[in-house]
């Protein structure tokens, strides 16, 4: 075969078998392999037989109806207020990493307690879920933030992706505050870090953004390497944005 395959003996991959079954254009290498490999022919034929049963099943029409109905509901959409209420009732407060700047200038980290940030994501089907560190998101998903602070603080939510530092929201919560509005994720793919910056005193937004941008540059524009973006306490949540 001209294409290297990961399976021992050079057998066809799952994807190659599926493309062949779907009638998509086969490469000469795939056709030649199927002609000489009884094992892969058997795999293909077994799947073909199962697929025929799937298509002849009496439940198929009902499944299609369910998809059509769900698509119509999706097109009507749901309001943020209702979705947010459900999500906040169910979502745990997400605490990823808290970086606390000590009075002597040193830093300590802790996993729980104190300030926290919950992120709720709504996808393009109108479904909402908590977004935790390590989760996946997609361009077009919308996210909202709830910041909880044990003491009054001025909060700025910053987002770092491969291209830039963005300001998502400035707010001044006394307690748990759901930030107004939602942010629709853009089409920049890759890792992203959202940082809620909690400042005990008012600071010009431009000043906070300048500190964060400098930290981003020091990290080589790698969001995952931005350890501490500003001189204030921070809450970090990381997620990976992938194509849908």
């Amino acid at each position: 075969m001209s294409e290297p395959h990961a399976l021992p003996g050079g057998h066809l991959s799952e994807l190659a078998i599926e493309c062949s079954l779907a009638g998509e254009l086969e490469s000469p290498a795939v056709r030649e392999h199927l002609a000489v490999c009884a094992a892969c022919r058997a795999r293909r034929e077994q799947r073909s037989s199962v697929d025929a049963q799937f298509r002849a099943a009496p439940q198929l029409a009902g499944r299609v109806d369910a998809i059509v109905a769900a698509a119509r509901r999706d097109a009507r959409g749901r309001t943020w207020r209702r979705a947010m209420g459900v999500a906040m009732a169910c979502a745990a407060v997400i605490v990823a990493t808290i970086v606390i700047r000590q009075p002597d200038g040193s830093e300590r980290t802790r996993r729980k307690g104190g300030a926290s940030m919950a992120i709720v994501l709504r996808d393009d089907h109108g479904r909402v879920a908590a977004l935790a560190t390590g989760d996946l998101a997609h361009p077009g998903d919308a996210i909202r933030f709830q910041i909880t602070s044990p003491r009054p603080a001025r909060v700025v939510v910053l987002a770092f992706d491969r291209r830039q530092v963005s300001v998502y929201a400035p707010v001044e919560p006394d307690h748990a505050t759901t930030l107004d509005g939602s942010i629709v994720l853009d089409d920049t793919l890759g890792p992203e870090r959202v940082i809620a910056v909690l400042c005990p005193r008012p600071r010009p937004l431009a000043e906070v953004l300048a500190e964060a941008t400098a930290a981003f540059e020091r990290a080589g524009r790698d969001p995952t390497r931005v350890d501490h973006a500003t001189t204030c306490d921070e809450v970090h949540v990381d997620y990976l944005k992938v194509s849908p």
């Binding site: 990961a6 994807l15 198929l60 996946l136 992938v242 194509s243």
Partner: protein, 161 residues
């Protein structure tokens, strides 16, 4: 998309989507639910689907990502990786120790590497195929596979100490 078009898509690609979802999620109901979600995404992104050079490849990736998201539950993922072996056509068997190691590693790596590891270890995709699925170069796939192998080596070294 109208009902006729959705039905045609489901008839054509539904078996693959359900088969793949069943492989990840382990039961018919979960696979059926996942398939519905995947086809909803197709309806939502009908333009992307129609423009895809290989609809099967596009759906293959979407189904994979959706199922990996569903599998974020730690207990379920551990069970799944412990019982998974290589793809059906591979006649060799991995030792139990290897499966457990892979389970532990997969729980710790970033989602991007995890997806590539699934395509390579479980589905037997070549670098070229993985590159086509992810929309990156085969060289990038090679780098990420090497990063995954380093993680495996590091884990094995730690286990040996």
């Amino acid at each position: 998309m109208d009902r006729l078009e959705i039905e045609k898509l489901y008839v054509t690609y539904g078996p693959m989507v359900v088969r793949r979802a069943r492989k990840f999620l382990g039961n018919e109901q979960a696979a059926a639910d996942a398939a519905q979600d995947v086809f909803l995404r197709v309806v939502r992104h009908a333009g992307l689907f129609r423009d895809a050079a290989s609809p099967t490849t596009w759906l293959f990736q979407i189904t994979t990502n959706h199922c990996l998201n569903v599998l974020r539950d730690h207990a379920r993922r551990t069970e799944l990786w412990a019982r998974w072996g290589p793809s059906d056509a591979d006649p060799t068997e991995h030792a139990t120790e290897t499966r457990v190691t892979i389970t532990q590693i997969m729980e710790r790596i970033e989602p991007e590497l995890r997806e590539i590891a699934v395509y390579h270890l479980i589905d037997g995709l070549s670098r070229t195929e993985i590159a086509a699925v992810l929309g990156v170069s085969p060289r990038t796939v090679g780098y990420r596979l090497e990063a995954f192998r380093e993680l495996v080596r590091d884990h094995l070294v730690m286990e040996a100490k």
